[in-house]
Symmetry: D2
Subunit: 293 residues, 4 copies
């Protein structure tokens, strides 16, 4: 045919290759009860980041010589364009409410299964029992303490029965000959969907930074965490730079710096915070930053 | 305060203004049973398109002198960048399955109501009775003939009962104290959501071209058609160029042109089509194009 | 090292591969007097387009079964997203005035050699003698007839002497110790620059469509034409669809269709054109379209 | 005409307006010897940021109630989407080497004067005498100490003579009838160009953050600084948040935090830095951060 098929044995190529990525290429990594992510293809790796960066510097650069140091330097100083030359293609399956958060990242390219063309599978998201939690008191958008075991069982039951009913209705409508695009409108946000998703390394890091964050909904964090593990295989140096200078870094305003200096010089944290930050939310954020020192 | 509030009387401005757009600014135009679109703000209009285009031409241009001719010329020749200097801000409310199609257009900026923060309103999409139709036989993704009145009533009933049940479950879960981000996972795709949506005129035309198309799902077409009417108020010359050279234009391949020439020269359409197009789908597309001459 | 270097022998991979692309991978294809393009890497090919499209259709599709027919169908009906899953990485060298036109395409990712870091090479664009032409009389932005041989020699001389002088000044300034970022400000637009450029297949076709067009400046067309030849190796079916349904297709407005019908039915072209098109530019465009039937 | 012209007296509008922005609307603010920036139009302001953010929160939010606190909160926590609903349109004139750095920001929309259509004006960038400096010793891409007054005069002379020669050649070629697109190829990078440039507030802040940075070339910093002043008029609260949480903020890695804690606890800065940072560049960056406490 003149075209080598994917994942059917191996082919020879002159392209940059990453053995650790080849090992997991195409493998499904399970997420939630029915979901998964798998790396389907990639272009480039740490080597490409270095190669793209060296074009900009031309023969004029020598000092930032080692690859790892160069990658660290680029990341630290927001020279993000070389990371855009590494591309990743993912196949993902997730509940629709997760997909709706995911798709807010507009710098990716995607093709999703369509409920207008295809009959959707009867697969719905059910949280683990210990994930069934109350509304958080501090955080308008998060979960707080667990419900009693009894309540958790009740909630689970409501979810399961609702999904069963929705599924029954859906198939009932299809049996009546109703158009697929209409029959599916009462399917729930917990229904699984899937897509091919294509993004460059710079924008993938941006996505991961927001979706691995403790404020992101637990269910999408599961995917982001798994994808970060896979990304470490593909581009270990870049992933390490992202971790050091983004994920685990802390952004300090002028006031934050003043406060930290005074506290490290012996003043009382609570008192300093109250003097510097009138706004309570910002004050609490400051005190949380203090913890990480 | 130093800041003029929107839609509270009028202010003086030195910006380009469009009286016909001012008249409808902020007005809700109803779409489907609970939805709407309204133009909340705009920047520029036909004048801006001309102004941006004339920068490129500098003092060297004189021939394409009239604004309307210039706008037509730009559109016809795919000089799309001047249209990107006109911006529109919309407030829209639509069912989630419509929102999911809409959000595929990545060149817009949006802020949507969040089910993690807010309790969702009990508003669901219910199709008009005569929109309840069978799966199309020719088109994998479309509606075909109507169901019997009896069946239509049954379908409507299934929709209404399902939505009632989903709503009950949702409020039941909220009453138990379940976190909002979790309580909402079984809400149906027919639930209404809303957002602020911001897009430039060039990309708006691209959106409208795809979503006013007969292949787009009926429910999103209702929105696109309404938005096109509003766009005509804001930038009538540009909207007219879009209509003439995009919406109502026809793209003809080499083979299409050969076929049309032979048919207009007296040969039998069906026979010509069969000789030129082996692929049946393309052949039918060709015959449909012929209709528009 | 754990990382396979590019273009140093071949590696084994499980990724989709395209033998015809492997053959030319990394090869420089000369453009203009000192420039080139070379395909450095790719991800996917026609197979990926099909794979991404089939995700959307799920198991519901059977009729559009063959890959080539599917790709043609997708292209014809503006289902462009599957083409976005094929990625290409290019290394290009071109005069700055060409680079300035090229960079207007914002959907690509690029890293360019920097005159702030590096001493620029003494390489300048010189047109072939028969490319030295007069300003076109019809087209404000194009070349027309040739100059006399004598004049062409004079022009060439002006170019060469100017470039020599600019180069001398540049090195003179560097010798004085002037910062590179300042020493380079009088270098001419004919100076060669180079970059790594990364774009998906859909946006590459868009770029090629505009830059292979007869209205594009001759010098950038040389690059676009060469890149199209390379793209045919990488994704022959997709490139063929682009050629048939975009490059060689014709867009006809309502009025165009009326005119063509009347003319094919025996009326006089010139007279029909004058009756239908008041605007002279549009009338001439119509008559040009007529030629292609 | 039905269309209100810009900058010709004032019109009534129901749109959000910002009096401080109206005052400077259309005014040229001089940059470098021949350049300028002017705000031509805007859509929204701080009020729009708040309005767009409140859509996401719906009626569920009360605590982050004041506009300023909300804007600060959004900025601090990277909720960047509400800032994308404020749009700005600029008219700018700058040397081509500045334009080439500027255009790397791909999230803007632009129309530039074209040397293919128009005869370029004889306006070239000449640096102020005290800006004529040597190559920096520490920084591969920057200026260092001044040259002697004598050398500065020599450099200035080289620039002026080169530009005069280039201009002469250009007009000479035009007089011979050479096509404009060809006659301009030896014009220098110091030639002024101009464009209409359109960007949302979030991406404008990103642009300003990179181009006001001390590592950016001096000439583009002049523009960025001026645009920041104008932005403060348009959206003072948002600009203040950008300044506090981005411009003047500091990003600290894990290692940075360890080092700062030890130093504030009394250890020797130099010694701590050497123990923690093997890489000299990162070590110096750390010591520079220390200064800002």
């Amino acid at each position: 045919m003149g075209v080598m098929k994917t994942n059917q044995g191996t082919n020879r190529t002159k392209r940059i290759g990453v053995p650790a990525a080849e090992e997991i290429l195409g493998k499904e990594f399970k997420c939630l009860n029915h979901g998964f992510v798998r790396l389907v293809d990639y272009m480039g790796g740490d080597d490409r980041v270095v190669q793209a960066a060296r074009v900009s510097y031309g023969k004029g650069t020598k000092t930032v010589s080692q690859d790892k140091d160069l990658i660290d330097y680029l990341y630290r100083n927001r020279h993000t364009s070389p990371f855009e030359h590494v591309l990743t293609e993912w196949h993902c399956k997730m509940p629709i409410f997760v997909a709706r958060q995911w798709v807010r990242h507009r710098t990716a390219r995607l093709n999703e299964v369509s409920g207008r063309y295809s009959v959707m599978k009867d697969e719905f998201y059910i949280p683990d029992v210990d994930e069934i939690r109350k509304q958080s008191k501090d955080n308008k958008q998060a979960r707080g303490e667990e419900l009693s075991l009894n309540e958790q069982e009740e909630v689970l039951d409501i979810f399961l029965q609702g999904q069963e009913k929705d599924s029954e209705d859906y198939h009932n409508l299809l049996d009546k000959g109703v158009a697929k695009e209409l029959a599916r409108i009462n399917l729930p946000l917990s229904l699984y969907t899937e897509w091919y998703w294509n993004i460059d390394l710079h924008n993938l890091f941006h996505f991961l930074g927001l979706r691995m964050h403790s404020h992101a909904q637990k269910e999408i964090r599961v995917y982001a965490n798994q994808m970060f593990e896979i990304t470490k295989k593909l581009a270990p140096m870049s992933a390490d730079a992202f971790q050091k200078y983004s994920l685990e870094s802390l952004s300090l305003s002028n006031k934050d710096r003043q406060g930290i200096k005074r506290i490290f010089n012996g003043e009382d944290p609570q008192q300093v915070a109250e003097e510097i930050f009138i706004n309570k939310v910002e004050r609490n954020e400051f005190l949380a930053k203090l913890e990480s020192f």
